[in-house]
C-alpha cells in the first residue's frame, strides 16, 4: 500500500496529465457524434456576452455595405411583391402559415476548421430552439444546434457533420448536401443518380423533404461534376451563393409543423 502511494506521489504530474488528456479526448470523441456538447459551446452568457460586445463595436465598420445588401434584398422582395397578382384584400390566414421567421445577428463566425459553428444573438428567450433553419438574404447558412437563454450556436453547412436535403431547381431529383472541408465556398451534393441531366451553372436549392427548411431556398450553382467510382451517382461541387466569410444579418426559420412531422416520423420508425 505504501508503495502504491509512493508511486502515485512520484508520478503525480504524469498521472494528472494523463487524466486531463483523457478528459479532453473524451469530450472530443464524444463531439464526433451528431449533437456535440450541450454545455461547452460558445452559446453561453460569458462567451456570448463577450462576442456580442465585440460585434457591437466591429459592426459599425461595415454599416454601409450592410445597408446596401439589405436594400438590394428589399428591392428584390418589392419586385416580387409588385409583380405577383394580389387578391383584392391582403388578408393573411394565420392557420395557413407554415413558417415563421425572425432576424438575428451573427456574433461569431468560423470557417477554417472541419466542424464550424456560428453563434447568433437570439436564444431560448426569443423562442429559438434546436433544429431551426438559419439563412441569409443570399442563401442557406445552417441549422441551430444549441441554445442558451440569449444566444444560440448554428451548425454551419461548412461542417463535416452537416447533412441537408437539397435538389436541382425545378426538378424532383434530390440528394444530400455535405462538405469535404477543402474549400470554404464549395460544398458537395451527393446521391444524385446518373440518369439526371446536369449542366455546369445549374442552381441547387433546398429540397422539400426536410422539416427544417422550406423548399426552394437557394444554395448555390454547380461548379463541377463527375461520376463516382461505382458510376451510379454524381459527385457534384457546388459554389455557394453565400459568402461564408462575411456573415452579418441572418434569418431564423421555424417550421410550425415541425413537431408534428417529427412525431409522425418517430412513430413510423418505431413501427418498423
Amino acid at each position: 500500500m505504501q508503495q502504491i502511494i509512493n508511486l502515485v506521489i512520484k508520478y503525480k504530474t504524469t498521472l494528472l496529465y494523463l487524466l486531463l488528456l483523457l478528459i479532453s479526448l473524451g469530450f472530443t470523441i464524444q463531439s464526433h457524434s451528431y449533437h456535440h456538447s450541450k454545455f461547452f459551446n460558445s452559446a453561453n452568457w460569458i462567451s456570448g456576452g463577450i462576442f456580442s460586445m465585440s460585434t457591437s463595436v466591429s459592426s459599425y465598420f461595415d454599416l454601409n455595405e450592410e445597408n446596401k445588401s439589405l436594400l438590394e434584398e428589399n428591392e428584390r422582395l418589392r419586385r416580387l411583391l409588385l409583380n405577383t397578382p394580389t387578391p383584392n384584400e391582403l388578408s393573411i390566414d394565420t392557420t395557413a402559415i407554415n413558417y415563421t421567421i425572425q432576424t438575428a445577428r451573427a456574433i461569431k463566425n468560423a470557417y477554417a476548421g472541419p466542424r464550424n459553428y456560428i453563434t447568433i444573438d437570439k436564444g431560448k428567450k426569443q423562442g429559438v430552439t434546436q433544429d431551426m433553419g438559419v439563412i441569409t438574404s443570399l442563401g442557406i447558412l445552417g441549422i441551430v444546434e444549441n441554445t442558451s437563454n440569449n444566444y444560440a450556436t448554428v451548425q454551419s453547412i461548412l461542417n463535416t457533420r452537416s447533412s441537408i436535403n437539397a435538389k436541382l431547381k425545378n426538378t424532383a431529383h434530390f440528394g444530400s448536401l455535405k462538405w469535404n472541408e477543402k474549400q470554404y465556398n464549395v460544398v458537395q451534393l451527393e446521391e444524385i443518380p446518373r440518369l439526371v441531366n446536369l449542366k455546369i451553372g445549374d442552381t441547387i436549392v433546398t429540397g422539400g423533404s426536410s422539416s427544417i427548411f422550406p423548399e426552394n431556398i437557394p444554395i448555390g450553382v454547380i461548379q463541377k461534376f463527375d461520376l463516382t467510382t461505382t458510376k451510379n451517382f454524381y459527385n457534384i461541387d457546388i459554389k455557394l451563393f453565400n459568402d461564408m466569410t462575411n456573415i452579418k444579418n441572418v434569418y431564423i426559420i421555424s417550421n410550425i409543423n415541425q413537431e408534428e412531422i417529427r412525431e409522425l416520423e418517430e412513430a413510423t420508425k418505431n413501427e418498423q
Binding site: 494528472l16 488528456l21 479532453s24 472530443t28 456538447s37 461547452f40 459551446n41 462567451s47 466542424r115 474549400q183
Partner: protein, 169 residues
C-alpha cells in the same frame, strides 16, 4: 514578489485568451490560417513553478479558448500536452543548466529561445490538427494546416515576444 508573479500571470492569461478569441481566431489568412498566440503563455510562464499547477493552468487556458471557438477540448488537449512536455523540451534546448537557480529565459541566446518556442508550437499544432481532422484520409490536409499555421504562429509569437519582452532584471 510572489504576489506579483500571480498577478502578472493572471493578466497574461486573460489578455492572451481574449486576444486569441477576439482577434486571431477571426484572421483566417488564405481562408484557414488562424495563428494561436496564446501558446506564448506557456513560453513566458515561470520555470521554477509547481508542475502540476502549470499543467492545470495550461489545460484551463486551452479549455477557455475551446469554449469560445466551439472546438470541444482540442486546444485543451494540445496545450496540456505541451505543458507536460515543457521540461523535456527545455532540457533538450538549454541543456542541464536550465535547472540552475540563476537560469533566466532572457539570458539565453536568441537561437535557443526561438527553438524552444518553435518546438512548443510544432508539438501543439501537430496534436491540435490531428485531433481536429481525425482521419488519415486527410493526411495531406493535416500536414498543410500544420505547416502553414506553425509558420504564422511562430512569426506572430516572435513579434509579440519582442514587443512585450520579459523585463531584464
Amino acid at each position: 514578489m510572489n504576489n506579483n508573479y500571480y498577478f502578472i500571470n493572471t493578466i497574461r492569461f486573460v489578455l492572451l485568451a481574449l486576444i486569441q478569441v477576439l482577434v486571431f481566431n477571426k484572421l483566417n489568412f488564405f481562408g484557414f490560417i488562424n495563428p494561436m498566440v496564446y501558446i506564448l503563455f506557456l513560453y513566458w510562464y515561470p520555470i521554477k513553478e509547481n508542475r502540476a499547477a502549470f499543467i492545470g493552468v495550461s489545460f484551463f487556458l486551452g479549455f477557455v479558448v475551446d469554449f469560445f471557438s466551439d472546438t470541444m477540448a482540442l486546444n485543451a488537449a494540445a496545450t496540456g500536452t505541451i505543458a507536460y512536455l515543457r521540461p523535456a523540451i527545455m532540457r533538450f534546448v538549454f541543456g542541464v543548466n536550465y535547472e540552475f537557480q540563476s537560469f533566466r529565459l532572457s539570458n539565453t541566446t536568441k537561437a535557443q529561445q526561438i527553438t524552444f518556442l518553435a518546438l512548443l508550437v510544432i508539438v501543439h499544432h501537430m496534436i491540435f490538427f490531428s485531433l481536429e481532422i481525425f482521419s488519415f484520409a486527410n493526411l495531406l490536409l493535416i500536414l498543410k494546416k500544420i505547416v502553414a499555421t506553425t509558420g504564422a504562429t511562430l512569426l506572430l509569437c516572435l513579434l509579440f515576444g519582442s514587443l512585450f519582452s520579459v523585463n531584464k532584471e
